[in-house]
Structure formats: C-alpha cells, structure tokens
Symmetry: C2
Subunit: 217 residues, 2 copies
DNA sequence: TTATTTTTTTAGATTTGTCTAAATATATAG
DNA sequence: CTATATATTTAGACAAATCTAAAAAAATAA
C-alpha cells in the first residue's frame, strides 16, 4: 500500500504521461505537486525502489505496469466519487474536484466496487472523463478541441481538459455543458476566438477557453 | 484544521470521557491509539498548545469546548458514513467500522450536510449509536446492559458497546440484532451467563457478551 | 565547440509523529 | 511512613516528506 503522498505522485505522473509516451520530467512533476524539484527527486527514488516507476538519473520517469495500475485505480476512485457527489448529493460539476481529491485515497476495494454498482457502473464522470473499470480498462473516445474545429463544423461537447472551478463555472454560465451540440460559425484571425451557436444562441469564446473544450464531431 | 492523527487522538479522548467526567489518562489513550505513553505525552502537549485539551502534568487531559466540538464532528461523520455504507451500499453492520475510520477524516462541511440529507437525517448509526446533528447535539437515550437485567425482565436491543467485527458477527449469528425484543429467563450464578428468549427461541449468552448488549426496558 | 542557461541531483536541515531508555512523580502496600 | 510498584514525562533518536543552497549534468546558443 502507498502513502497519500505517493499516491498523489503516481496520479500526477500518470496524467502527465497518458497522452504521451515520453519520460515525465522532474520539473513537470514539481509544478503539478506544487513542490520543489529536489523533493520530487527524493520521492522518485522511493517510487523507483518500490518498482512503481522506472528511473534513470536526469532522464525523468516512466510508470511501471504496477505503478500504472495503482495510478489508474486512484483515477477510477476519483471519478466514481465525483459521479456520486453530483448524481446523489446534488453537487455541481465545479464543486466536486477537491472533495474527490480526498475521497480517492480511501482504501477499500470492496467499497469501490459497491459504489460503482450503486452508481450503475457509470462510463464517464461529470466532466466527461472516462471511468476505468475494475480491471483498469476504459475506452479512450477520440475527440477534437473546439479550438481545432473549422468554420461550419458541428460537434457535441463531450468533455473538458481543465477542471478548475472558475473554468467550469464560466462554461456553465455560457450554457456550454456536457452533451450540448454546437456549430462553429466564425474564427477570428486576430485573437483566435471563435463564435459558436448553441441552442440557437450565438456565443463568443476565447481561444484559451476553446482549447479546453473537447468535441466529438 | 487538525491532522489525521490529531483527529484520532481527539476522538479517542472523547470516547474515553463521554460517560465519565474524569480526566483521561495517558496510558488509556496509549492503549486505544496502539502507541506508547511517551508518544501520547508528546501529542497531548501539541493539543494543549492548540487549546483543544486542558492538560496538567501527571493529571491527564480534559477536552476543551473547542476540542469536544471537533471530536463530536468526527463522530458525526463516522456514524453518517456507516449509515451510508449499510443503507446505500448494502454492507453488513460488522463490515463498516474500518472504512468509516477513513471516511471520517474527509474535510468538507458541505459534504457532511448533504450526506446527512441524502440519508434523511438518521438519528442512529447501524450499531445504535446516536448521530450528533450539525450543531453537535444528540439525545443520549438511557440504556441498561443486558448483564444488569433481572430475571423475567423484558427489553429491546438498542445498541452495543463493542464494535469489533468478531463480536458483531457473533450477535448476528445469534439473531441478536438492533430492535429485537428479548426476555431474560435465567441468570447462571456460576459464570454470570444469561438465558434469554428472542423470537421464541431460547439463547444462552456469556456474561462478557451480555455486558456489551445495550437494552431499553 | 566553448559558454551559458536550464534542469536535475546532492547534501544537510526541518517538521511531524513515533520510539527507547532513563528519570521523575504519584499511588499503593506493608 | 518508608518501600515498592505504577504512571508519566523527558531526552535523544529515527523515518517520512519536505526545504534551501550548492554542485553536477544536460540542453542551448554563440
């Protein structure tokens, strides 16, 4: 069993490597963990001793098979708890992240399986992210960023790549929630912002926001 | 905010003093915390610095008002989570203690209030223990131990004073669950064991077990 | 390819919660 | 009331996770 902190490192290394087979760099981990590179090096050595990561000095880390399984299990728990908080306790999608960050460390395989069943085996969390099954499997549905859509293209909002409360509240206010259909009408050369139509309303979205909205065409 | 460990100390001090206004002794805490007296002394000093306990050297500790509130809040969370585990996730009453020991440390007042509501504001946990409301209030229903009943007396099982899985499974097997009505027929002088009738069945219970069954006459 | 910048690691210190062993205070027994 | 036993505290050490400052390696630029 891993400590709280070790679990957080594994999770962050997983997120930093999931879309990318490169080694994960010390500084990248330090930034996400809000800590210093020296601390990361110390922890990496510990994780390497436990065979949870492969590590060569100055070369960054890769999760081992065991390390990846552990990380995916934490992600599974995080996302299941988010579903619970939204579906059962009526939290909004922008309120659940921090609470799930705590709940994801509760240690009981039985609890997770029963929670999964209680929630009717959800496939996605409230932000559209896929929930791994008990074997760690999940389908990575292909997506495009809204910022990559071309004029006239139509799509469905299926997720976000930024989970801060501020960002999610902003989307909510614009009516850009999961499952909504949109059509891109204009791309502004000047600043990259895009005009879209959602439920017959015209909305302008900055490029920065559009980059974090995931679309299935 | 307190650390995990500090919360566990507060909770244990609370349980050791709830039926008893005496100061709580270092050794008693050490035993419950499965640690050494020296460690307890160290922690007590820290809790005293934080004004969570009153402490005079060699004289044991008392919870302060703040410390008691903190402890009751942890107990509240523990018991609410136990109800959730039994009522919603179909755990048995002997399976929930350890999981609730982890869940009780999740920090979110909003979460607790919503969980309470989701569970329809339960008054007691699966072992019969009262659940404090959000202000820390609860009614201490008076009870008698089964071992104190007299021959011929009738009562209702309303709780237990021992929460180990082994004990609870034993009661389950004997059919001695919350809400059952029983009549005491015989007290054996020799070993203090008692014969009771529950649902028309005659059952013999050792004195040790009878001491941990709480009865309302 | 040498110089400079960036990244990473090492060395040594700090904090939290724990420990053992020894010292001190309190309680109990004769 | 002294001796013994029990309970508690102190002193000093350790492991985990972190930090700062300095050293070393790797990447980049001139």
């Amino acid at each position: 069993m891993q400590s709280f902190t070790e679990e957080n490192y594994l999770k962050i290394i997983y997120h930093l490597s999931v879309n990318n087979d490169q080694a994960v760099q010390t500084n990248a981990i330090a930034e996400k963990m809000q800590t210093k590179a020296a601390s990361v090096t110390d922890m990496i050595k510990k994780l390497a001793d436990k065979q949870l990561v492969d590590y060569k000095k100055y070369q960054g880390v890769h999760l081992t098979q065991t390390g990846r399984q552990a990380a995916i299990n934490i992600v599974r728990k995080h996302r299941l708890w988010e579903v619970f908080l939204v579906e059962k306790l009526n939290f909004k999608w922008d309120e659940v992240h921090d609470i799930a960050e705590e709940l994801e460390h509760i240690n009981s395989a039985e609890l997770v399986e029963r929670l999964d069943e209680f929630l009717s085996f959800p496939k996605n969390d409230p932000h559209g992210d896929p929930i791994p099954d008990k074997h760690g499997k999940f389908d990575a549905v292909p997506f495009t960023k809204l910022s990559k859509l071309k004029t006239g293209e139509k799509g469905l909002i299926m997720g976000v790549s930024e989970h801060s409360s501020a960002f999610l509240k902003h989307l909510e206010k614009l009516g850009l929630t999961l499952g909504k259909t949109l059509t891109l009408t204009t791309i502004t050369d000047f600043d990259g912002s895009v005009e879209i139509i959602v439920e017959d309303k015209k909305i302008s979205v900055t490029r920065e926001v559009a980059k974090h909205i995931l679309i299935r065409i």
